[in-house]
């Protein structure tokens, strides 16, 4: 298929359809409402369903219900809406159901503002719900990458029987870029017959499937949590994804940055190169699991003096970077989270402050 010009939010909706997801439940919130706007037109065209819940809490349980039946299902929201969904997310994790959650982040805390932000990093990677609850978290940096990640997210959610989150900042949802969609998505067949409550007629087994997150017996609950932990450990083994930029130089500074913020950093790195200042970038594509080894290796290069986390939050990624770097280099932070995205010039200034005159 040839290129089309799409807003990130529209492209995310279309990508879900192309991934074979025909169930979309959501509640509108800026800056992601265009997903609902788009899918309210597109879902009927492809025989799918868009249903607006009465709240995000309701939506999270609509997702749970559809996922428990083995249906591909997803939702989109923005920061305050994701907070409301977090109870349902924990139930879905506990019940081991696959689903895709998209968070197009806006400024917080509370109502915050409607402009871009990356301040839900800790929520997404460490605190998305109560209990030992983790999501695989993917962070696209372009509209095209958002499309690819949404299409990967459904099979990954099924592989792990665990929700996957696409964590994009407001710009990912709102900006327009040319995109191409693969004509056919070849995903592995769903394993739903092994666990979903999709009726006895559809499978050979006589055993009924039961979907639940309640384990009153302490030993059973512990065993259940060990099974979940084994899945998170497997994600750490198999789902590390990142890109590097300018790492083949004798850089003094290593930037770690993700999402659209990393594109600002790339722009700054190019300009600094012209000024004979080499800076490298590690861009995590997944932030849970975090590319610890890649960051450690890049920071350990003998020319590297400092590591700088550049993010649209007050330094939420720093702890992951420090843990990765293991004290070998000092880790600094630069960022803004009021809604103004730092400019390449501001990033350059933050970098230059770290370089001795």
């Amino acid at each position: 298929m040839s290129k089309v010009l799409m807003k990130g939010n529209e492209a995310i909706g279309e990508a879900a359809i192309r991934a074979g997801c025909l169930n979309y439940f959501a509640y509108p919130i800026t800056p992601q409402s265009e997903v609902a706007e788009y899918l309210s037109r597109r879902m009927p065209e492809v025989g799918g369903v868009f249903l607006q819940g009465e709240s995000e809490v309701a939506v999270s349980y609509m997702i749970f219900g559809a996922a428990a039946c083995g249906e591909r299902v997803f939702t989109t929201s923005s920061s305050p809406g994701i907070s409301l969904m977090s109870e349902g997310v924990s139930y879905i994790v506990g019940a081991q159901c696959p689903a895709v959650f998209v968070n197009i982040m806006r400024g917080g805390p509370g109502l915050g503002g409607i402009l871009p932000s990356q301040a839900d990093y800790l929520q997404a990677t460490k605190g998305i719900g109560h209990g030992d609850c983790r999501l695989l978290v993917m962070v696209p940096a372009s509209v095209q990458e958002a499309v690819e990640m949404v299409m990967m997210a459904f099979p990954l959610a099924e592989k792990y029987r665990n929700p996957v989150m696409i964590l994009g900042d407001g710009l990912i949802g709102q900006m327009m870029e040319p995109v191409t969609f693969p004509d056919h998505l070849k995903t592995p067949p769903s394993n739903k017959n092994d666990w979903a409550t999709n009726g006895m007629d559809t499978r050979k087994s006589k055993t009924r499937n039961l979907v639940k997150s309640l384990y009153l017996d302490p030993e059973a609950l512990n065993a259940h949590n060990l099974r979940l932990k084994a899945k998170y450990d497997r994600m750490r083994e198999e789902e590390i994804r990142y890109e590097t930029y300018n790492t083949d130089t004798d850089y003094q500074i290593l930037i770690v940055s993700y999402g659209t913020m990393s594109r600002v950093c790339q722009s700054a790195i190019d300009t600094l190169k012209a000024k004979k200042i080499e800076v490298a970038l590690v861009r995590p594509q997944n932030v849970f699991p975090f590319p610890e080894q890649a960051v450690l290796e890049a920071a350990s290069k003998s020319s590297c003096r400092h590591v700088l986390s550049v993010e649209m939050s007050m330094g939420q990624m720093i702890e992951d970077i420090q843990r990765s770097v293991q004290g070998k280099r000092p880790v600094h932070w630069y960022g803004k989270c009021g809604g103004d995205v730092p400019t390449p010039e501001e990033v350059m200034e933050a970098v230059e402050k770290l370089i001795p005159a």
């Binding site: 290129k3 010009l5 800056p31 409607i114 709102q174 040319p178 390449p344």
Partner: protein
């Protein structure tokens, strides 16, 4: 912001869009209304007109005319916006200054409207101002921006549906078409040609005149514009993500080569 004061070449002059009175810019979400509106405003101002531009986008949270207010104001264009403290509010604020601008008796007033029927609904509430303007016999244009590389407007029937829904919501009849076929920086010369054929076909089907097409400024020099039946507006992108620089406004073709 390099603003050249020299005049365009004679060839370009003939095919440069010229508007007076009220120009209402409508179209589908993401069809490029704002870039068209700000570039038309800048071009008209450069040609010596008094120009006002009003940001009527009540539905889009980012990438609105208000983000280009600095270069526009610097050129001497009147930019009509909601009060500063509400610039980033997620609220449908329609300042009374818009009705005031529409009632102006001279110069060019461009209204940059939000996308789809939802965005065009605001126009219905300006009916009184439009009526007052018509009593002054001010030229009145409602121009439909089309980009066939966007979802829902890639077919003639899709565009027809969009046109009707916008007319219904705005309670205004569209008077002409602006062909804005583009894939942003990835636009190629053949996309311009393909887009031109598409909007010509729509013009015939809808019986709406093709008022102009747009060409991204970097492509302008390599495009043979003499075979187009309508004026050409070059688009210099002002609303860009933070890792890119807005193009600014350049008007002298020669000085740029």
């Amino acid at each position: 912001m390099a603003i050249s004061t020299s005049t365009a070449t004679a060839n370009l002059n003939k095919i440069t869009p010229r508007f007076d009175g009220i120009v209402v810019i409508v179209g589908a979400f993401g069809s490029g209304k704002t870039e068209v509106a700000v570039n038309l405003a800048a071009l008209s101002r450069e040609a010596g007109s008094e120009v006002w531009i009003a940001d009527l986008d009540l539905v889009n949270p980012y990438f609105r005319t208000r983000e280009a207010r600095v270069p526009l104001t610097r050129m001497g264009i009147g930019v009509v916006l909601p009060p500063e403290i509400y610039l980033h509010a997620d609220l449908p604020i329609l300042t009374p200054l818009v009705a005031g601008a529409i009632r102006r008796t001279e110069g060019l007033v461009i209204l940059d409207v939000g996308g789809n029927d939802v965005g065009a609904t605001v126009l219905a509430s300006l009916a009184d101002a439009f009526h007052a303007s018509s009593l002054e016999k001010r030229p009145f244009h409602v121009l439909f921006v089309m980009n066939p590389f966007r979802p829902f407007t890639g077919t003639l029937s899709g565009c027809m549906k969009m046109r009707k829904s916008i007319e219904r919501a705005s309670k205004l009849a569209i008077t002409g078409i602006i062909g804005n076929a583009n894939l942003m920086e990835e636009t190629r010369a053949e996309d311009i040609e393909e887009g031109y054929r598409f909007v010509r076909a729509f013009s015939e089907k809808s019986r709406l005149p093709l008022e102009m097409i747009t060409i991204p400024y970097p492509l302008l020099k390599q495009t043979d514009i003499t075979h187009f039946s309508c004026p050409v507006l070059s688009i210099q992108r002002q609303l860009v993500p933070p890792w890119k620089k807005p193009a600014g406004f350049h008007f002298d073709r020669k000085s740029d080569s």
